[in-house]
């Protein structure tokens, strides 16, 4: 292939691409920029979130039969003469600098009225600063770094709970278990992987334990790609811990469980932190050995039995994409609805009006597909009504066991010893 040919293809792409966009602009529309990792290591997650955002936009624009959700009647946003939502996607490739560049382009060239994204906390960090400087509202549905809402930004709003709150949930759960089962852990051990997430989680877990009066006897950070965890597990055994908190990716979560069994390490409970433990593969590989593990989650499929809305929306999505919602996609979906709700209440696409409407957001929990009490932002832009849930693997399936008011099954406590199963 000669260079000339390549060059002509490239030039052709340059010339024709704007044509695609121009055609769609004729109708009254609300342009929202969505910045997600569409290529790179997190591409599959990014694509999933893109699908759910498109589903949300489609429900608002064209309606969804039988789903009783505000704005889901179709026909766009009523207060803006039924203007339709138009999503303009950009790929940040997991790179904070690219995220900022794309945010700038969406605001200045694509003239979006609001931004949504970016999943990665570090990309959200840079992209939201661009929005702040340009005075454009930024809604973040999925990044969990606590720092993001400590920046005192005026234009930044986050619907998901952050890492601090998630770890808080662990301790709230323990408190509730204490009331219900009369068990208070005396010796807590922590086993977390050693990249950004695990290290940060350890730090918060230790800090909150001190504040809330729990005793941490051992805290281990191990390399996530480790092929054996024997010495780590021996340390755990020696610590005589009665409760283990663990943050692992898939491979290491499986390896850890196998090593626990080999070495007979059985605390009263294993409290895992989402990620590897939530993966279908975790249960498939370990089979019965995966039972009784608790995991902190943001969403669970069995919640569909509690809230009819969750089942309806999930069915709609599953029919099209042959897979269920998960914690990420459910949060992205919710994020766009919160943003659309604010734009509708603002009755205008002026950024300041949208910002004001966002800050006045008050959506009750029963209108959401999340296990939250609702959406209401504090002065820092953090949703104060969000919360995580705790699921437990029972008979190979995830069951929501906490908060108790939305639990689908009672928790099994303590975890039986390995030889007594």
């Amino acid at each position: 292939m000669c260079i000339q040919k390549l060059r002509s293809i490239f030039v052709a792409a340059l010339l024709f691409a704007p044509g695609f966009f121009a055609g769609a602009q004729a109708q009254e529309e609300i342009r929202i920029g969505a910045i997600y990792p569409l290529t790179g290591a997190a591409a599959s997650t990014g694509l999933e979130m893109r699908h759910t955002l498109e589903l949300a936009a489609d429900m608002i624009n064209n309606g969804a039969k039988g789903i009783n959700m505000p704005l889901a009647a179709g026909g766009g946003l009523p207060n803006l003469k039924n203007a339709k939502i138009r999503l303009i996607f950009a790929d940040h490739q997991g790179n904070p600098q690219v995220g900022a560049t794309e945010a700038e382009r969406l605001i200045l060239q694509e003239k979006v009225v609001a931004l949504i994204g970016c999943y990665f906390s570090n990309v959200t960090a840079t992209a939201s600063v661009v929005a702040e400087r340009n005075g454009i509202p930024f809604l973040n549905p999925e990044s969990s770094s606590a720092k993001l809402t400590q920046r005192k930004l005026k234009w930044f709003f986050r619907t998901t709970p952050h890492d601090d709150l998630f770890v808080h949930n662990f301790y709230e759960f323990l408190k509730d278990v204490e009331t219900k089962k009369g068990f208070k852990p005396q010796r807590i051990a922590i086993l977390n992987e050693n990249t950004e997430w695990g290290v940060e989680t350890s730090r918060i877990q230790v800090r909150l334990a001190k504040e809330l009066g729990y005793n941490i006897v051992e805290s281990i950070n191990y390399p996530a790609k480790s092929t054996q965890l024997t010495s780590e597990v021996q340390r755990l055994k020696a610590s005589n811990a009665d409760l283990l908190m663990q943050s692992s990716y898939l491979g290491d979560a499986i390896l850890a469980m196998k090593t626990f069994k080999e070495q007979g390490f059985a605390p009263k409970a294993i409290l895992a932190n989402d990620a590897g433990f939530s993966d279908t593969e975790f249960r498939r590989t370990l089979g019965k050995d995966a039972n009784f593990v608790f995991s902190r989650e943001v969403w669970a499929k069995d919640l569909t039995t509690q809230n009819p809305l969750i089942k309806q929306v999930n069915d709609l999505y599953a029919a099209k994409h042959k897979t269920d919602f998960n914690g990420n996609s459910a949060r992205s979906f919710t994020g766009l609805f919160v943003l659309a709700d604010a734009i509708n209440r603002a009755g205008s696409t002026a950024p300041e009006a949208i910002r004001k409407a966002l800050s006045e957001t008050d959506i009750p929990g029963n209108q959401l597909i999340m296990p939250w009490s609702g959406v209401k932002f504090d002065a820092a832009g953090q949703n104060t009504l969000g919360r995580g849930i705790i699921v437990q693997i029972q008979d190979g399936e995830f069951a929501t066991v906490w908060p108790f008011d939305i639990a689908t099954k009672d928790l099994i406590w303590p975890m039986p010893a390995w030889d007594k199963r």
């Binding site: 569409l38 591409a43 904070p96 382009r105 060239q109 840079t126 730090r203």
Partner: protein, 324 residues
């Protein structure tokens, strides 16, 4: 090209660069110009070691990261202006470069390259776990203080001129090196280390000089990045992909030549931004495929880089003229 022609070209290029942001007024487009200058600047820094001395480092992001972290930590903790923090960062990086060089210059060729990758990876892990510098969460540059002293601006214009200034200073330093005895020593080390040594050029000493200068300027680029994006974490200023990009702009533009990194950066950043803007939203990675194809094509058809090709092209044109 005669020296006179060359000077005219440089002066008019500089003049053009000075007025460019007034022609390109959309801040989003100005942002691309800043990116071009930023990657060109760190490319030039890389080129001093990789191009002139032939010590290919794929861990240069370590110095970039040290620069970014030093100025930002000093700004966040004691409120020191990034202008001073930037220089301190440069000095810290230069010393770190000396240390790394002292260890890694024992390795030759590919082994040196591998050692530099390892150093950068180690640094990334260290910074991820070092709470004093924000650890995994990263560091935010406060937005409340703006202006020249704080190096935080709402407009793109100041960033453009700072990037242009940094690029010019780095280029001048490179030019001074090229013209001085160092330039000859460096090239001698690259072309025939044994011969250079037999003539009394200490290989290790001059490689150390090169790595110190190269690290210093790479660190300045890091501080600038931090002030531009206002947020740094190990995932943004200590990633391997950035090391590769520094070397890529130089190699594509013309390794071991003064303006190679600029040409490479214009090309690479241009392709990257254009393909991503047009096709990135599709989520199918077409932009990256095109991007990679162009890089491969350049590597095959212009192995001496775009600048090397242009020089040959000009020379051929001149010969034809002489013949006529």
């Amino acid at each position: 090209m005669t020296p006179k022609q060359r000077n005219t070209l440089i002066v008019s290029g500089m003049g053009f660069a000075l007025v460019l942001p007034f022609i390109v007024s959309n801040p989003s487009h100005q942002n691309y110009l800043i990116l071009v200058l930023m990657f060109a600047q760190i490319g030039v820094a890389w080129n001093i070691l990789g191009g002139y001395v032939g010590q290919v480092s794929l861990g240069h992001v370590a110095f970039f990261g040290i620069g970014a972290y030093t100025s930002t930590v000093l700004l966040v903790s004691v409120g020191l202006s990034p202008w001073i923090g930037m220089l301190i960062g440069g000095v810290v990086a230069a010393f770190f470069g000396l240390l790394i060089g002292w260890i890694c210059f024992r390795f030759k060729g590919h082994y040196f390259t591998m050692a530099t990758i390892a150093v950068a990876e180690i640094l990334q892990v260290l910074f991820t776990n070092w709470e004093g510098v924000g650890g995994a969460v990263g560091l935010y540059v406060p937005l409340d203080q703006q202006g020249w002293w704080a190096m935080v601006f709402n407009s793109k214009l100041p960033y453009y001129y700072i990037a242009l200034g940094l690029f010019t200073v780095t280029l001048l330093a490179n030019w001074a090196i090229e013209k001085s005895f160092l330039g000859y020593y460096f090239r001698a080390i690259k072309d025939d280390p044994e011969a250079a040594r037999s003539l009394g050029v200490s290989l290790t000493d001059y490689k150390l000089v090169a790595i110190a200068i190269s690290s210093f300027f790479a660190a300045l680029g890091g501080s600038f990045y931090a002030q531009k994006e206002l947020f740094i974490d190990p995932g943004s200023v200590l990633v391997t992909s950035l090391s590769i990009k520094m070397s890529l702009v130089t190699i594509l533009g013309g390794i071991g030549s003064l303006f190679g990194p600029l040409v490479g950066s214009v090309l690479l950043t241009g392709i990257e931004e254009a393909t991503r803007q047009i096709l990135g939203g599709s989520g199918m990675g077409i932009d990256l495929i095109i991007y990679a194809t162009i890089i491969i094509a350049v590597a095959i058809y212009y192995p001496t880089g775009i600048l090397g090709w242009a020089k040959r092209f000009l020379r051929r044109g001149k010969k034809a003229e002489d013949g006529a």
